[in-house]
Amino acid sequence: MRRLVREQSLTLFFGLIFLAALAGQAIAGHIAYNQEQTAHGGSAVSLGRYLTSSDFGEAVMENWQSEYLQFMLFMLATVWLLQRGSPESKELDQAGRESKADQKLEYAAEEDSPAWARTGGVRTALYSNSLLILMTLIFVGSWFAQSVTGWTEFNQTQRDHHEAAISWLSYLGSADFWEHTLENWQSEFLAVGSFAAFTIFLRQRGSPESKPVGAPDEATGVEG
């Protein structure tokens, strides 16, 4: 049992701190929401009511979509784009989708390769891009969820100010939607770009995200 837990410890750890952070966000968000309500002459709401509010939903989804966009773009960009000296990059002569032999596809599949890597055709094409497809679907789904909750919030504010509500499509073109979107994108893009740059000259002993401590700065695509 202990071995089973140790072998899944990365996902278990992040799953647990995700739940703890989400609970903390819910509690802090509830307090802040009620402070705002009472400051504007409204009445406080229960935690249960806050958890079903668009205020909470939008706050969660605007961060989800940007995280999944970040991973999706990073995965896609690193197929073709390189960074000399970074372990996050492929080796400098490996840019591109690589050969069937390199990717162990179809005739080059090995005994323990997944069946869909071996069959060829649509199934192999789908399986070859399945991680990107899933991350893209989650990104689009969470961005949609952000848009509908943001739209609800926006129209609530409009009504509070005795102004006309707008359609979902109009909201997609609004400054409010794009501010909530881009404020998250910019931080993700900076974090990924700076991390790739920092890994050229800096190391973390034992981490697969870093080169081995003794690897030269020039070493590209070498993981620890």
Partner: protein, 40 residues
């Protein structure tokens, strides 16, 4: 022998981890989409 007995369990644990994350994310997105749309 220990490895032989643990291999199916280890495979099951990987599948459970994968499905918990996948279903969790889908449920989260669906939940927020529904509460967003329900107010209209």
């Amino acid at each position: 022998v220990a490895g032989f007995h643990q291999a199916p369990l280890a495979g099951l644990a990987m599948r459970v981890v994968f499905l918990v994350y996948l279903i969790g994310v889908i449920c989260g997105i669906t939940y927020v989409s529904v509460i967003g749309l329900a107010h209209h």
